[in-house]
């Protein structure tokens, strides 16, 4: 099945990806078909694996303070700062609705 424009629009909002042109959308389509091959395998009675580390032990750290105190270094990355705070816009700047966006998806 082809991916609908609604789903593509939804993905652009959620993940801020940009399906720049028809190639981008086609690539996504092919990736989904590739993944769909999994349905050909009979997985009845098999627990899904969600990590190749599943039979490893999750390492537990002792409750000691071992890091932090590097404000200067961290703020080096910030474009704007105010007294050791990172500065961000007042709220999320939402992606404009599909009709108002300059995107390839508009044409589909």
């Amino acid at each position: 099945q082809k991916v609908s424009v609604e789903v593509l629009d939804h993905l652009e909002h959620l993940a801020l990806v940009d399906f720049r042109d028809s190639e981008g959308v086609e690539r996504l389509q092919k990736e989904m078909e590739f993944a769909d091959q999994l349905h050909e395998v009979n997985t009845d009675g098999v627990e899904p694996m969600d990590s190749v580390l599943e039979d490893r032990c999750l390492y537990l750290r002792e409750d000691d303070v071992t890091e932090g105190n590097c404000t200067k270094e961290l703020l080096q990355n910030a474009r704007e700062k105010v007294e050791e705070y990172f500065v961000a816009p007042p709220g999320n700047i939402p992606l404009p609705k599909l009709e108002e966006r300059d995107t390839f998806l508009q044409g589909s």
């Binding site: 993940a15 990590s51 580390l53 537990l60 303070v65 705070y85 961000a88 999320n92």
Partner: protein, 480 residues
């Protein structure tokens, strides 16, 4: 209309370091000083789970009678916000560490505290979760300042299953401090008609105190009822509680249903917990968490404490409830009982009715009480030895409350409150009163016993309140 309220409680565990990194956990530190590279979500950093946080989660699960999942998993919950630099939060959405618990609590159904009911609320799950940073909104300069000190600190989520009932009950459950973001509560509210399926629910955030929780839930229930009665519909949305206006408003940035695109956290294998039976033989014991071991070390739960108090001191369940409801009051009561000869059943009245009401009137905690358990016990001893009357004791208490450092005995002497001990003198006064009040004596002898109280009152006046009314009554009755 039946309201249904579910609560999501985010509580911080007192640990030295954060859930997934070795940064310190501390309140009121300079901004971004308690932030490691992982907390700032710099590429190439990985989460490492804090053992103490897991133990705390297990303890909480056991205390709330949950089943502990011996294998629990971590997931990523994705959304964009300036205080979440990674763009996702590590949480436990699929298989959390503990599920299906319950919490029983006692509720007074009338204001006189004379009737207690036990209610139970179900707990859906408890999960370990990362906290985001803190955003300070600077509206004048149209910017948000982000402090990541809080990022990565443990947030322990407890979901309360609906149905929950009406709001008055919601408030009793939360007894943790709300300050400094140590505890945050979000409420999920919906309404429906009995017998019909549950209505659409809204999530109410930004509730900053217990008092506001009750207001927010009440307001939202009313808003939904009005909306539905006017033919409208309820949107499945997130609303914020505006404490100044006392109402809920739709939240900016959260229009429409959120799609968090949950996925397993690839950097964390499953968390495995053990018990006495499944304890592996050759493992480094620092890497092993034994549920049974933690169970043995659980402190006494409130319901157990309450029963113990009732059994030990012969007080009523309502009294026990009141003692445990106030921080430090139970210890105070027990200390007084230890230091006085007065029976615990009598002491409880003085602690709950007299001391506690003073504290409440002046908004003081037990710790801040100007009257120590020692002083109160001293006073009660005087009362017990019949050196002062009950009324006098109350006067002394009022004086002690001023906290001027006087002992009860000093106050009694100062204000001349000692009961007259001289039987002869008392008899003489009684006789004098009898001799004076001829009319009253006649009435009593004619059978009107109520008039005796007037005579007792007169004797009291003569002795300036320093006579034991019971004794006076006996003497008068003997003479008449």
């Amino acid at each position: 209309w039946v309201p249904v309220v579910g609560l999501e409680i985010h509580a911080q565990i007192s640990s030295n370091s954060k859930l997934f990194s070795g940064s310190q956990v501390q309140f009121a530190a300079p901004p971004n000083s308690l932030v490691s590279f992982f907390d700032a979500s710099l590429p190439g950093t990985l989460p490492v789970l804090n053992r103490r946080c897991v133990e705390a989660a297990v303890m909480t699960g056991l205390a709330l009678k949950c089943s502990i999942n011996k294998k629990s998993l971590f997931d990523r919950k994705h959304y964009f916000y300036a205080d979440l630099p990674a763009g996702y939060q590590i949480t436990q959405q699929r298989v959390p560490i503990a599920v299906n618990g319950s919490l029983s609590y006692s509720l007074c159904i009338d204001s006189k505290m004379s009737q207690m009911v036990t209610k139970t609320v179900r707990i859906k799950q408890i999960q370990l979760e990362q906290d985001s940073g803190k955003s300070l909104h600077d509206d004048t300069r149209s910017q948000t300042l982000v402090d990541l000190n809080r990022a990565g600190r443990l947030g322990l989520f407890s979901f309360f299953f609906p149905p929950f009932g009406c709001t008055g009950q919601t408030v009793l459950l939360i007894k943790f401090p709300f300050t400094e973001g140590q505890l945050r509560v979000d409420a999920n509210v919906s309404v429906h008609h009995p017998g019909e399926p549950y209505g659409v629910r809204t999530e109410v955030k930004n509730i900053n105190s217990i008092r506001f929780l009750a207001k927010a839930v009440d307001y939202e229930i009313q808003r939904q009822i009005e909306e539905l009665e006017n033919g409208g519909t309820i949107l499945n949305e997130t609303r914020a509680f505006d404490s100044k206006l006392g109402c809920t408003v739709p939240m900016r940035d959260k229009e429409g249903k959120q799609d968090y695109r949950f996925m397993p956290e690839p950097n964390l294998p499953p968390l495995i917990l053990y018990d006495a039976k499944s304890l592996p033989a050759n493992m480094n014991h620092q890497q092993v968490i034994n549920i049974d071991w933690i169970h043995e070390r659980l402190p006494d739960l409130p319901s157990v404490k309450r029963e113990k108090l009732v059994e030990q001191y012969g007080i009523l369940p309502e009294h026990s409830f009141a003692l445990l409801n106030e921080d430090g009051l139970a210890e105070f009561y027990e200390n007084v009982v230890k230091q006085t000869r007065m029976k615990p059943k009598r002491v409880i009245g003085w602690v709950l009715n007299n001391l506690l009401s003073y504290l409440k009137q002046h908004s003081l905690t037990v710790k801040e009480s100007p009257i120590s358990s020692f002083l109160l016990a001293d006073l009660l001893n005087l009362l017990e030895k019949k050196e002062i009357s009950s009324t006098a004791a109350k006067q002394v208490l009022a004086e002690l409350w001023k906290g001027e450092g006087k002992t009860p005995l000093e106050i009694v002497k100062e204000q001349k409150l000692q009961l007259l001990q001289d039987q002869k003198e008392l008899e003489q006064i009684c006789q004098a009163v009898i001799d004076r009040q001829e009319n009253e004596v006649m009435a009593i002898k004619a059978g009107n016993l109520k008039v005796l109280n007037k005579l007792i009152g007169l004797v009291q006046r003569e002795t300036q309140g320093r006579s034991n009314p019971v004794l006076v009554k006996q003497l008068l009755e003997k003479k008449l």
